[in-house]
């Protein structure tokens, strides 16, 4: 008997070591997976942030410029058409030639391509639009935008292989070098306000994120306003009211299937129904919102139903026991208790919608939209489409803009999530 006991405990002890090892191994797998995930995340973020933040800044060259009414061709400072139609290009060009001391044709060409003449012209135009009378005839200092190639080169100065150098000829490099040596009045790097305040443009130095940002915002607004109430009403009805029969089973299966449909199919649906059949305006956040509502609804419905199911039956019983009607039980108890879960589902759905581009392709939201949309019926594009378009543009300035736009998109997402977390914590505190 005693012998047998010792044997048993020995066996257990022997096994224990094995068990500990297995336990350690099991934990190690988990830690490894987390490390892998973190590594990918860190890699992704450092890459995006290092590239993206570059896009937020730009190089300017402060120049003094005499606003000569004669060169501009403005005779009446009150005439808006004259101010808008004035010849700013010539004015800026002339001044640039002076600065770079360019006299011959070739020298002039070299100098001209270093500065973004048109974009600088627009800046002067903006100034004159507000107070032409006082500024005309005076000399002002303005931050002229450098050409996007120059900006590209300057941002990478000191890097191995001098990227961007190949864009310029010897004479141009000499001019840039001269400006770089200047202590005052040389290039300065500052926040690129244009990027945040204007829409897309064919010139990368003038291209901004605002039109895509507003497009995304309107799109999400439409999507939220439609999918949240519809999704919750559907979930509540299916969970609380609908009889359990083969029809509701069929509906349930179809909702689950819809969640797995490739998003481009929803785009085709939107094209066929909203654009072709109903004739809604093309490329607008309104139609995009309809399409993305279809796409996000299954997500919202499924998670809302799960949240409603998770409300303890004892709460329902308690309310019924006092004599609450079905609607009172649902509105007073079930929905408030399920709301945090419903919000989580909605946020997941909306985050999907924010990053979606395939269905929007089908309804024409991939167009070049320089104007900032001011209503849900204005043509607009969205952040993911804008990123894609900038990335495939061969111009050096654009890929940087695309990285910056990715950062904006991520920030947008973070803000949305923060809002959801805040709303959820507020709701939970009430209980």
């Amino acid at each position: 008997m005693t012998d047998k006991n010792i044997n048993t405990i020995d066996l257990v002890n022997k096994n224990l070591k094995k068990r500990y090892r297995a336990e350690k191994r099991f934990q190690a797998y988990g830690i490894l997976s987390i490390c892998f995930g973190l590594m990918c995340l860190v890699f992704l973020f450092t890459d995006i942030i290092s590239k993206g933040t570059r896009g937020f800044f730009y190089h300017y060259l402060p120049i003094e410029i005499h606003l000569d009414a004669e060169v501009l061709g403005i005779t009446d400072t009150n005439d808006v058409h004259q101010i808008l139609g004035a010849d700013y290009t010539t004015l800026v060009k002339k001044r640039v030639y002076e600065i770079f001391e360019a006299k011959k044709r070739k020298e002039k060409k070299n100098a001209r391509t270093l500065i973004a003449i048109d974009a600088t012209g627009y800046r002067i135009q903006d100034l004159l639009k507000t107070n032409a009378a006082s500024l005309l005839g005076t000399t002002i200092t303005i931050d002229a935008l450098v050409d996007d190639k120059v900006d590209f080169y300057l941002k990478r100065l000191g890097e191995k292989g001098e990227p961007g150098k190949e864009y310029f000829n010897e004479a141009q490099l000499l001019l840039i070098g001269k400006l770089l040596e200047r202590q005052e009045g040389g290039f300065n790097k500052s926040l690129n306000k244009t990027f945040f305040t204007s829409g897309d443009s064919a010139q990368s130095e003038e291209a901004g994120i605002l039109s895509a940002f507003m497009g995304s915002l309107y799109l999400l607004l439409v999507t939220f306003c439609l999918s949240f109430p519809i999704g919750i009403a559907t979930a509540v009805y299916l969970e609380e009211y609908a009889p359990k029969n083969k029809w509701t089973d069929l509906i349930e299966i179809n909702i689950n299937n819809l969640a797995a449909v490739p998003s481009i199919i929803f785009g085709l649906l939107g094209l066929a129904i909203f654009l072709s059949f109903f004739g809604f305006p093309r490329s607008t956040p309104l139609v995009g919102g309809f399409v993305l509502t279809l796409m996000t609804l299954p997500t919202i419905i499924i998670s809302s139903r799960a949240a409603i199911k998770a409300v303890p039956p004892s709460i329902r019983e308690a309310a019924y026991g006092i004599g609450a009607s079905k609607m009172q039980v649902t509105i007073h108890h079930v929905i408030p208790l399920a709301m945090p879960g419903m919000l989580t589902g909605t946020i997941i759905g909306l985050a999907q919608a924010l990053g979606e581009s395939a269905p929007l392709l089908m309804i024409g939201m991939a167009a070049f939209i320089p104007d900032v949309p001011t209503a849900i019926t204005d043509p607009s594009t969205v952040l993911p489409m804008q990123i894609f378009q900038w990335f495939r543009n061969a111009d050096a300035g654009f890929s940087e803009k695309a990285s910056a736009a990715i950062l904006v998109l991520i920030l947008f997402l973070v803000m949305m999530n923060a809002l959801a977390v805040w709303a959820r914590s507020r709701l939970e505190r009430r209980w």
Partner: protein, 273 residues
Amino acid sequence: MENNTITDINDIKETVGIPLVDNAKMSMRDVDVFYGEKQAIFGVSLDIGVNEVIAMIGPSGCGKSTFLRCLNRMNDTIEICKVTGQLHLEGQNIYDSKLDVVPLRARVGMVFQKPNPFPKSIYDNVAYGPRIHGLAARRADMDEIVETSLRKAGLWEEVKDRLHQPGTGLSGGQQQRLCIARTIAVSPEVILMDEPCSALDPIATAKIEELIDELSENFTIAIVTHSMQQAARVSHRTAYFHLGKLVEVNETEKVFTNPDHSLTEAYITGRFG
């Protein structure tokens, strides 16, 4: 050996004792309850007298909770549940298809096995019933209802300083008394209690039992319990259920000292259950 003394369930044709009384608040006749194909209650006839405390005891699965839940139609929430027979509250058929369950449940309140306060403040828990039934026109009226209900439930002194804190923060026994306060806030005529103490410790249980005693002055109470001692302590009459049948109903003292039916005796002496 024991089986010889226990009557076969199929032999139970009629309830022995005194299932019917003269001044009945609720009267049930030939009640059958089905869950789908399965019959859970077989032809139960029982009266519940005015201001009476009636205890329902019996082994697990004997149908005592099911029967209790018929009395305010809580079984309606279970789709496959079907109830037949006559169930009357003061002469009114409570299974009338035209009857609205909302006023019925306001008249026949219920306290559940597990304390289930709403995740709201103590005040809102008690005020919920009066609010949805529109019992208080002014805020002062509501305050009064809340206070009297909490007083009747013996909870007022303990919570009067924290009425606006969550009801879920109370202890188990306090929560159950809060649930009782919530039930009596709508001034029901009958209170159904489904094993109200099974999740509570002995001290909390004693408090609830005391409370039931006080409440019986104003309310008719039907209580389902697993504890025979509890039934003996709080009730006037005791009904013994066995496999869906009502075997015996008698004065509580008689049931626990000298039951008429051999099955009852077997159960209370602990031979099964």
